[in-house]
């Protein structure tokens, strides 16, 4: 019973943090286009994305080839939960796999 109570308590705290975090994470006004604004930034994100893709995806299975962008968007969200990718890892990998 104590464990259940602790779990519910932890869940409540986590929900509070999630709410606060969602507010902090809500998209800032975007002044840039949806792709990297400069070729240098694009190259940096692609290199970082490839590095994180090789580091994270290969931990469990042979790294897959690129799928269509919208398929990849779903698969990466799935892997964020299943493979415990960080938020940053997910974004870089998704950028790399869809550009």
């Amino acid at each position: 019973m104590k464990i259940l109570r602790a779990f519910i308590f932890a869940l409540t705290i986590a929900a509070d943090v999630a709410y606060a975090g969602s507010a902090a994470d809500s998209p800032a006004p975007i002044s840039q286009p949806a792709t990297a604004s400069t070729p240098e930034l694009n190259l940096r994100w692609m290199m970082e994305g490839e590095k994180r893709y090789r580091t994270n995806c290969g931990r469990c299975h042979q790294p897959p080839h690129k799928f269509e962008p919208r398929v990849m968007a779903t698969a990466v969200r799935h892997m964020r939960v299943r493979g415990m990718l960080t938020d940053e890892d997910m974004k870089y990998v998704l950028y790399y796999m869809t550009h």
């Binding site: 986590a14 779903t74 969200r77």
Partner: protein, 352 residues
């Protein structure tokens, strides 16, 4: 043990709560760029045909395991995996026609809500996050050795309940991942689960491609056993080699460990060899103090060593063959495996 678990739940929640929240302009830009592609539902999964000869008796193992992923909103996703497995054996052991039923199971059907960059909430039926094999390596198209580890039945399976989990970058060199969960008892056919609570925490060092972690689980029914586990995963950056190991301890059920190494010939001169991978695994299991408490475990102390070859025909197909030897006080036996696995991804909407 209960107090320790309760304290750990609290510490994890507080630590997450204390982690600073913030967003830089570049992060916002990256998110906007990454969010350009809107997710669509997909049907994925794997199929495997892996005939196995254990002690000379053949079993035609045939598995189809579809995975459905449905993004409901930007932060909410439904995911589910079912498994249809037919283990067809000969009617008279070594002779006669093959017969057997197809077992159906719902392995997970869960809603995941990504609260923020530190927390994901999961509710429904989910895979028990005890060590890593159950959650990450179980599908046939992923695993390097096709037989289940001997210790696999300890603390794994599916749970019905709630879970908090996430991956947090502590600094560029260390990532913490954690899962805290509670499962309710269910005796509903195909939806069975045990009443227990547990946690898993791991540290991943991305520059070294090394992950270490531990698991703890306390059963809240019947014998109220405790289960402890630890794991290590290492993939050196310069060598196409995977090293994985897991250990599990339960006083009542038993204890054991397995260690597996797999080397892919990516740098071989002959291009034909680039798709080949050799794998070896050795494992040991010791029975616990309560005989038969977990009917899926070996009934006597067992050691097994296996070696095999995987050949990745393309991104979806894998051919495999392996040989192993099982050692017990009751006698030794061979285990042979040969077969194919296939991984598929089908978009259920416009993919572009």
């Amino acid at each position: 043990m209960k107090r320790a678990l309760a304290r750990l739940c609290l510490v994890i929640a507080v630590c997450i709560g204390l982690t600073p929240l913030g967003t830089t302009q570049e992060t916002a830009d990256l998110r906007a760029a990454a969010d350009e592609a809107k997710p669509i539902p997909i049907l994925s999964g794997g199929a495997a045909f892996v005939p196995t000869w254990d002690s000379g008796d053949p079993t035609l193992v045939s598995i189809v395991s579809p995975v459905l992923l449905v993004p409901v909103s930007r932060n909410l996703m439904f995911e589910s995996r079912a498994e249809f497995e037919g283990d067809f054996v000969r009617r008279n052991g070594n002779s006669g026609d093959f017969t057997g039923a197809i077992e159906k199971s719902l392995e997970y059907a869960e809603f995941d809500y990504i609260g923020n960059k530190y927390i994901t909430f999961t509710a429904g039926r989910f895979l028990t996050p005890f060590n890593i094999f159950n959650e990450r390596l179980y599908p046939n198209w992923i695993r390097d050795t096709q037989t289940d580890p001997l210790i696999y039945p300890i603390g794994t399976g599916s749970d019905n309940g709630l879970m908090i989990r996430g991956g947090v970058s502590l600094d560029p060199n260390i990532t913490l991942n954690y899962a805290v969960y509670f499962s309710a008892l269910s005796t509903i056919h195909h939806l069975e689960s045990e009443r227990h609570a547990g946690l898993r925490a791991g540290l991943f060092f991305p520059h070294h491609r090394l992950e270490i972690g531990f698991s703890e689980q306390h059963v809240l029914q019947d014998a109220r056993v405790n289960r402890l586990g630890s794991y290590l995963e290492w993939q050196p950056a310069r060598v196409p080699f995977d090293l994985r190991t897991e250990g599990t301890y339960s006083r009542e059920e038993g204890d054991g460990l397995w260690i597996e190494g797999a080397y892919r010939f990516r740098n071989a001169r002959a291009s034909l060899l680039h798709r080949a991978q050799v794998v070896a695994r050795t494992q040991v299991f010791h029975v616990g103090t309560v005989a038969g408490i977990n009917p899926d475990l070996p009934t006597i102390d067992t050691r097994r060593t296996e070696g095999g070859l995987n050949y990745y025909l393309n991104d979806g197909w894998k051919a495999l063959a392996s040989y192993g030897r099982t050692f017990t006080a009751a006698g030794n036996s061979n285990i042979w495996t040969v077969g194919m696995t296939y991984r598929f991804v089908i978009p259920l909407g416009p993919a572009q």
